[in-house]
């Protein structure tokens, strides 16, 4: 297992964890752009652009892109988040060069007007799909309420309104501003010939024109609040809550992940014993998300509407108790065992490692091996986890609940 990196003259960085034992090669272009880089007028453009990338270049038609990926048997896709847009493929090693070429072409899309209008319908369908399914937009609403005027407040998908009024010119302008080589990392994991990877990158992306890109960072000023939204047609009541947590730069993030595992993992956690095991809720979880200048501890609850208020009180009491009394050594050990096992299991496949390697580099320009992560997890102490719990009070949260009951009253 070897980590190698290289920067092209135009600023595009190439990083790879090369594993001679792997059967496959996973490659991905990680673009440092997402919903946080959008103005309100173009809300959703990053994600829409990700779709348009698959519609061909100046020399390649929309059908050709998918056909050529399928010809090399690639398992490929893309996703957009608040901070990143990632285009990736897992292929057999002999097709690595071809995959780099096809992926690189995604980042130089033609953005044809007729494709834009057709794909707009697909995006609107995606928005409708999420609006029709749990938690019926409560996650976006909670994020917006919690982050307020911070760039992380925006929805990744945008809204039906913002997408409908978006025009191709605005997308082109956004593309030219964000898709610059200095704002892109090509990451790889698995069976990789690094010199060949660099050579292929130079060939396909060496002439991308550099230009400075910026991202506004701001300290998040989290808000507390409670909103109950009515959705009569829903059968269950849902609640999403966001509170503060360590950012991607913050060493506390490991302790935060263990804390989330102890309190809100889907098996054997405090929320599990309090709500799931007795059958009081269908889902109850706590997870940690990290961004460049903020972090978030997110609680999710799905339960019978009649017991929603009571369950929310139970969640709140459980979080307050964790802040007051801290966690136990036995709980920490259990969480370490779980998390360590997951680190090992998720890194067995190159496509699992790809995202860790790419995100670590994008977030901190840092490479961490599986062993580095295991060592850090193993060394954490009860005091460190409790300190994080004190630094980021779990009970200070923005809560949005949605479902048939509008009058969910939790009280103090």
């Amino acid at each position: 297992m070897k980590f190698l990196s290289h920067t092209l003259e135009n600023g595009l960085e190439i990083v790879a964890e090369c594993n001679g034992e792997a059967y496959s090669t996973a490659l991905g272009f990680f673009v440092r752009t997402g919903s946080r880089d959008e103005t309100e007028a173009v809300a959703g453009v990053s994600h829409f652009l990700e779709h348009m990338a698959f519609k061909g270049t100046a020399t390649r038609g929309a059908d050709d892109v998918n056909r050529e990926f399928d010809e090399i048997g690639a398992h490929y896709n893309a996703y957009t988040s608040e901070e990143h847009t990632v285009f990736y493929a897992a292929v057999l090693p002999e097709y690595a060069d071809r995959a780099v070429e096809l992926l690189a072409d995604l980042l130089r899309p033609a953005l044809r007007v007729e494709d834009f209008e057709t794909e707009k319908q697909v995006i609107l369908e995606e928005i409708h799909m999420y609006e029709d399914a749990p938690p019926f937009g409560a996650d976006d609403k909670c994020k917006a309420a919690y982050f307020g005027d911070h760039p992380l407040a925006g929805s990744v998908l945008g809204t039906a309104q913002s997408i409908t009024r978006l025009d191709p010119e605005a997308m082109r302008e956004y593309f030219l501003r964000r898709y610059r080589p200095g704002n892109v990392v090509l990451a790889g994991a698995g069976q990789i010939d690094f010199d060949a990877l660099v050579a292929a990158s130079q060939r396909v992306a060496g002439d991308w024109e550099p230009a400075p890109t910026q991202r506004a960072h701001r300290e998040a000023r989290p808000r507390n609040g409670f909103t109950a939204l009515r959705k009569e047609s829903a059968s269950q009541q849902y609640a999403v809550a966001i509170g503060p947590g360590p950012s991607v730069q913050d060493d506390d993030r490991f302790a935060a992940k263990l804390l989330a595992t102890i309190l809100g993992d889907d098996s054997g956690s405090r929320l599990y014993w309090e709500l799931i095991e007795p059958g009081l809720a269908e889902q109850a979880s706590l997870s940690h998300s990290e961004y460049e200048d903020a972090g978030a501890m997110m609680t999710y609850l799905c339960c019978d509407p009649e017991s929603a208020a009571d369950n929310l009180r139970r969640v709140r009491d459980l979080l307050v108790q964790a802040e007051t009394d801290g966690i136990t050594a036995e709980e920490l050990q259990q969480a370490k065992n779980k998390v360590s096992s997951r680190v090992v299991l998720s890194s067995e496949r190159p496509r699992g490692r790809l995202f860790t390697v790419g995100n670590d580099w994008l977030g901190r320009r840092e490479y961490r091996s599986v062993q580095d992560d295991l060592d850090t997890v193993t060394a954490l102490t009860v005091d460190q986890v409790n300190a994080v719990c004190a630094r980021y009070p779990l009970s200070r949260r923005t809560i949005v609940t949605i479902g048939p009951k509008a009058n969910v009253v939790v009280g103090e």
Partner: protein, 428 residues
């Protein structure tokens, strides 16, 4: 009585060819595939307690029993059981299928044996504690209620119920009345009848020593009583109408048609035909319905197989006002399949499958599930190498000959949304 048919290690090659198998004297089957360069081991128990085995008025009983079985077993109470599995780092998953309950998990290789010992308790010595009956019932009811909010899932559950003759398409979650009326006695009886060695298949894949594994399973489960299968219940179809009214923006469309089962000689041809429809983003459905027309975000078709029969299940979700067009275009694509497939389509499918097969060797949990299911369907396991050879042998002519004899027809259509759609008479 000992039936020995230990598999032969293969001669090497690009994909794994080594499958070990052993049938214990009580009928329990162990199938295992060693995988190089992995740190993990995965296991899949298929226990012969599926939805089809549930009494007519006890839909959901297998899931109810599975929930109860995890609430304490052997020397461990419910808390200790979960705690010990967590400490062993087991990522576990349970699922109820038509003819089995699946208990699966994956963990680092060193933890495999202690984990299997806990599962031997779960399968043989669950406490099925009376004091946990109501909590388990609440969980079952919560799940049923949550599905009401998942339109795509709800439509596909109903499609399956209508496509397969009863009791084969029964939903694993059961129904509210059955779950409300289930007693501890029902659960105990279902356990006594169906958690048994004969008919149980254990698949293991990853890093392990075969001889030690065979011996360990012998110790843990070798004296598990064989038991015997009960006759399948006689039940009515119980299907809902073809359109389910739902207050939503989108309409969910589910289409099913008969397909040969996995064990059929022509399965690979039928699989290739569905691959041309839906394998990869250059496949016909994605291209015609989404890419060219922008009618939907999600669309797919997959082969599904029971032991004796199969089906192709197709899904599309789209705004209510474009649902009719989506249904029409999708059905037209299914019907067009009768005209045959093109060489370039098959070539792409083969390329995709080749990489899928090789990449499967990087996932212990997908292999443990595959080999256990293979045994259920075939009474043996197809190695990845054999699957590769079968796919290499496919030709356009063989697929088209199959399609001539078995054109997509006899469609079952289920829609869920604000308004019903018109299903053309000639295809329904």
């Amino acid at each position: 009585m000992t039936a020995e048919f230990d598999g032969q290690p293969g001669q090497g090659g690009s994909v794994s060819e080594t499958i070990f198998s052993h049938m214990y004297s009580n009928g329990l089957v162990l199938v295992a595939e060693p995988m190089r360069s992995v740190q993990s081991a995965a296991f899949t128990f298929l226990v012969p307690a599926g939805c089809a085995n549930e009494p007519a008025n006890r839909g959901g009983l297998s899931g109810f029993l599975c929930e109860m079985a995890l609430r304490g077993a052997g020397s461990r109470d419910n808390r200790q059981l979960i705690l010990d599995l967590d400490n062993l780092g087991v990522e576990r998953a349970e699922a109820v299928y038509d003819s089995h309950t699946g208990f699966g998990g994956v963990t680092v290789a060193e933890s495999l044996f202690p984990t299997l010992a806990i599962y031997a308790d779960i399968l043989r010595r669950p406490h099925l504690p009376d004091e946990h009956l109501e909590a388990s019932r609440l969980i079952m009811l919560q799940e049923l209620q949550a599905v009401e909010d998942e339109p795509a899932q709800k439509a596909m559950i109903e499609l399956r119920r209508r496509h397969y003759p009863p009791p084969w398409g029964r939903p694993s979650l059961g129904d509210r009345t059955a779950v409300e009326e289930t007693t501890l006695g029902d659960i105990q009886a279902h356990f006594a009848q169906n958690y048994r060695a004969e008919g149980t298949i254990l698949g293991v894949a990853g890093r392990f020593d075969w001889d030690a594994l065979k011996e360990k399973i012998g110790e843990l489960l070798g004296d598990w009583p064989a038991g015997s299968a009960a006759a399948l219940p006689k039940i009515g179809n119980g299907a809902l109408p073809g359109h389910l009214p739902h207050d939503s923006q989108q309409t969910q469309i589910g289409i099913a048609y008969p397909n040969v089962p996995y064990r059929d000689d022509a399965y690979f041809e039928s699989w290739a035909a569905v691959g041309v429809l839906s394998g990869g983003m250059s496949a016909r459905l994605f291209t015609e319905v989404r890419e060219r027309r922008g009618l939907c975000y999600a669309i797919y078709a997959v082969c599904h197989s029971l032991r004796e029969r199969g089906g192709v299940f197709c899904y599309a979700g789209t705004s209510a006002d474009r649902a009719q067009e989506t249904l029409d275009v999708t059905l037209a694509e299914l019907v067009r399949l009768r005209e045959g497939i093109e060489p370039h389509e098959l070539d792409r499918l083969k390329a995709r499958m080749k990489s899928t097969l090789i990449m499967q060797q990087e996932s212990t949990s997908s292999r443990s599930t595959s080999i256990a299911r293979d045994w259920h369907h075939l009474g043996r396991v197809r190695t990845l190498d054999e699957v590769g050879r079968r796919i290499d042998a496919l030709t356009c002519q063989s697929v088209n000959t199959y399609l001539e004899a078995n054109p997509p027809r006899g469609f079952t259509v289920v829609t869920l949304g604000p308004r019903p759609l018109e299903v053309p008479v000639e295809v329904s």
